[in-house]
């Protein structure tokens, strides 16, 4: 029982870190129908910015996170204007190739500037301490990640279900041409939700750095993980992404704790099983 609870808590924290990154990708894929394999690259850029700000410039953790999110969004704007806009509505293969190309470029360029070493983001005192939660101690940072995940999930749910922007967004997802005809400025909706998606990737990249360390091949190494999570959850679905992250996070963490020599074996076996049973993901819509 002790073990189950203990693993469960770690799995939940890991799942939440995954969720913060993946929900942005899920939005991009559900809304704009773009298979954005470069999503992890944006998380990586954010990690490098945060690491540079916190470690080399000595800024606070909160400021580093804010800087990372802003910086990544600023970098993503010209990319969206010049590159992503051309592949909206293209076949999947084109999108995959283009975004892999962007990922390679990001990896090459960041390493040219920052060097091929692992980047750490120093945690503030308050988050580095262990906290006693009754049956075990857990680092405060993990609780912080869980809190971030819950806040992001509720915030997005509120934004999409309860606000005027959310209504426009859902209308655009369902039928972009019709929403456009009814006066919804779909270009603005696209731009704003792309920015939100990138911002979430940046946030996830920074707070999740304890689970997914920021290193030169980050974008390539976790590209597959992110894509898998989104496709298992169903593109564009928040509950789907939550469930997928928790289930896959639990499988991955449990496998690593109990049978570390098998590596990712159980993770991918589970993915094949889930995709075969739910071809559109847990909560995916018919396309």
């Amino acid at each position: 029982m002790q073990t189950i609870l203990s693993i469960g808590l770690d799995a939940f924290a890991y799942g939440m870190a995954l969720f913060i990154i993946c929900i942005g990708l899920s939005l991009t894929m559900g809304l704009m129908r773009v298979v954005n394999l470069a999503h992890g690259a944006f998380a990586m850029i954010a990690g490098y910015i945060a690491s540079y700000a916190a470690r080399d410039l000595g800024m606070g953790y909160a400021i580093a996170i804010a800087l990372a999110i802003l910086g990544t969004i600023v970098i993503s704007i010209p990319l969206e204007r010049l590159l992503f806009r051309r592949i909206y509505g293209s076949p999947e293969l084109t999108q995959v190739l283009m975004t892999i190309g962007i990922t390679f470029c990001v990896i090459g360029i960041t390493n040219y500037f920052f060097g091929p070493t692992l980047k750490t983001i120093p945690l503030p005192e308050a988050l580095a301490q262990p906290v006693d939660v009754g049956f075990r101690t857990i680092s405060a940072h993990r609780l912080f990640v869980i809190a971030c995940g819950v806040v992001v999930a509720t915030g997005l749910w509120f934004l999409i279900e309860k606000t005027a922007f959310g209504i426009k967004l859902r209308a655009t997802v369902d039928n972009a041409a019709m929403a456009d005809a009814l006066g919804v400025r779909t270009q603005v909706v696209y731009a704003v939700s792309f920015a939100i998606a990138i911002g979430l990737a940046a946030l996830g990249g920074v707070v999740g750095a304890e689970f997914l360390p920021i290193e030169p091949y980050y974008a390539l190494r976790y590209m597959v993980t992110f894509l898998v999570v989104v496709s298992v959850g169903g593109a564009g679905s928040i509950p789907g992404a939550v469930v997928a992250c928790i289930v896959l996070g639990a499988i991955d963490t449990t496998g690593r704790y109990l049978m570390p020599e098998f590596g990712n074996f159980f993770f991918y076996a589970a993915v094949i099983g889930i995709v075969c049973v739910f071809p559109r993901g847990f909560f995916g819509r018919a396309q």
């Binding site: 084109t94 190309g101 090459g108 993915v271």
Partner: protein
């Protein structure tokens, strides 16, 4: 050593004399380019053999992506299955090279059968994810079964016996290279027949419009599965060739990276033409050899920029580009 040849159009190839003439010329060009490589780069034959092995894999990837329209990022699973099948057989006493190639083909075909059965259940994005999951699963399995595969150390100690009992696999890789070249030309000719057969046309039809083909009364799933098996056999031969020539099978032969690179090579050369697969492989691996020896990260930036450029400027790849140049040249000449 470029293999630029007039590639066929996407419309139905008719068996006219001109078509056959062009194919013969194409095959002769491949042989000429291969022999030119043999004379020009006698010190790099190991690399050239590797290029041929990967070219076999990219050709087989073209069958799936270019002719059936199924996007996959897990093709290295088939290549690796062939490599490990041949490698394990070789370590356990089957050392005749031709037999090893056949074993590799069978291993690849079996992996293709499994992969096709799983992948064809889904469409679109989930299909792509399945292909990635399968190659990662193969990777983990190969890593775990270290008693048979050598795990992360790789399977080493392959000692193939001389080809036909005469030509030994020497240190300079001359035998391996010529053997690979002959294999490549043979496979290329067979695949030319396959893709212009009624079966190949049916695959193209499925790529264009699956619903319509179904309405015509053809069964889609078995046709695509058959193509997966053929593709697996070809990729497996490539894997076996790599295993024989390098005498070692590493975990990188079942990696996601190799799959992604193969797709990049194919798209660079051009989808849906067998020549495109060869051109793309040669150019990609040539550049990789030169640039990545300077700095691997420059290489990544370059490949990335190249990919973006190909997607934006030449969606049909280099062979599509040369086709367009030829066409515009002819139009100008006609005036």
């Amino acid at each position: 050593m470029q293999v630029i040849a007039p590639s066929e159009k996407l419309v139905a190839p008719s068996h006219t004399g001109a078509q056959i003439g062009r194919d013969v010329a194409g095959v002769l060009l491949i042989i000429a380019a291969g022999l030119a490589g043999y004379w020009l780069f006698p010190d790099n034959l190991a690399l050239l053999t590797r290029v041929i092995a990967v070219a076999l894999m990219v050709l087989s990837l073209d069958l799936i992506v270019g002719y059936c329209g199924i996007a996959t990022l897990g093709h290295a699973a088939l290549f690796g299955a062939g490599a490990y099948a041949a490698g394990i057989a070789c370590v356990n006493g089957v050392t005749e090279p031709l037999t090893l190639i056949v074993i590799g083909a069978v291993g690849g075909a079996a992996a293709g059968l499994v992969m096709g059965t799983i992948m064809l259940r889904a469409h679109g994005l989930p299909q792509l994810v399945l292909s990635i999951a399968i190659v990662q699963l193969f990777h983990e399995a190969a890593n775990k079964a270290s008693a048979y595969t050598g795990g992360s150390d790789g399977l080493s100690g392959l000692m193939p016996s001389p080809l036909f009992g005469v030509f030994e696999f020497d240190l300079w890789g001359q035998t391996a290279y010529l053997f690979g070249l002959i294999l490549l030309v043979f496979v290329f000719i067979v695949l030319k027949f396959v893709v212009s057969s009624p079966f190949g046309m049916l695959c193209r039809g499925i790529k264009e419009d699956q619903v319509r083909i179904r309405a015509m009364g053809a069964f889609v799933f078995p046709v695509l599965l058959k193509m997966f098996v053929i593709s697996g056999a070809v990729a497996g031969m490539g894997g076996a060739l790599a295993a024989i020539s390098t005498q070692v099978v590493g975990l990188d032969s079942v990696s996601f990276e190799l799959s992604a690179n193969a797709l990049v090579m194919l798209v660079l050369g051009g989808l849906g033409t067998l020549y495109g697969a060869l051109v793309g492989t040669v150019i990609f691996m040539g550049f990789e050899h030169v640039v990545s020896s300077i700095n691997p990260f420059h290489w990544m930036t370059m490949v990335g920029a190249l990919l973006i450029a190909v997607v934006l400027a030449a969606p049909k790849g280099l062979s599509g580009l040369t086709d367009r140049l030829f066409a515009s040249g002819r139009a100008k000449g006609g005036r």
